[in-house]
Amino acid sequence: MKLIYFAWVRERIGRNEEEIFPPAAVVTVADLARWLAGRGEEYANAFADPDVVRAAIDRRHVQPGAPIAGAREIAFFPPMTGG
């Protein structure tokens, strides 16, 4: 599946997007964030405070417990500051 990052999550990870192939044990968005955090210092840094990072699956806001099965595009980003 495709991951896409925004704002300081993107800056800390150092890339806009990537294709990933998580293991089957990664079921929810929270699982995915924990798995990503273990991939290196830049990811650990981006997900240092997992309660702060928000997620969207296929362009819709989701909660950490949302299942990622079937997702085409998962986005991680800080709390929004538009408007």
Partner: protein
């Protein structure tokens, strides 16, 4: 109050880098109609924060930005009997004094237009996928603007 969104004209939602003309958008919404009694226009502008700020850079999530604003617009049209609704949100580099966001809500009576416009702004602040980064006059690139508890609280009122 209830309204059937399917009977209303759809909301006009635009996400763009270019400036917009708030007056022209508001005028377009009411032009040629005799059933609209109230038009509320909200324009959000970039402040220079006491001279500190050179510009704001607005990052957005293309695709989701339009879709999420559209979903918030549908919620507003379900809750209030709106006769017209326009929402424009800019991205990219925006200088102090320039407009960032526009909401125009039209209804037969003023209460619905005011409430819908305020609801939309509260919701756009916390749900629309945009992020502001400061560019400072003194030190160049500053930090990302932090989300405020006040904005979350404002959205929870509704």
């Amino acid at each position: 109050m209830s309204a059937k969104p399917s009977d209303d004209p759809p909301a006009k939602v635009r996400v763009q880098a270019d400036p917009f003309d708030a007056g022209a958008e508001a005028h377009a919404l009411a032009a040629g109609r005799c059933d609209i009694g109230a038009v509320v226009t909200f324009t959000g502008l970039c402040r220079d924060e006491g001279g500190r700020l050179e510009a704001l850079e607005l990052e957005h999530y293309p695709g989701m930005a339009e879709e999420e604003i559209g979903r918030v617009a549908d919620q507003a049209r379900q809750r209030w009997p709106l006769l017209g609704l326009t929402i424009i949100h800019r991205y990219g580099l925006i200088r102090p004094g320039e407009s960032i966001v526009l909401v125009v809500a039209a209804s037969s009576h003023r209460r619905a237009a005011f409430e819908a416009a305020e609801f939309l702004m509260d919701y756009l602040k916390t749900r629309a996928p945009f992020w502001k980064k400061e560019h400072l006059k003194e030190r160049g690139a500053g930090g990302w603007v932090a989300a405020t508890v006040a904005d979350d609280t404002a959205a929870e009122r509704w």
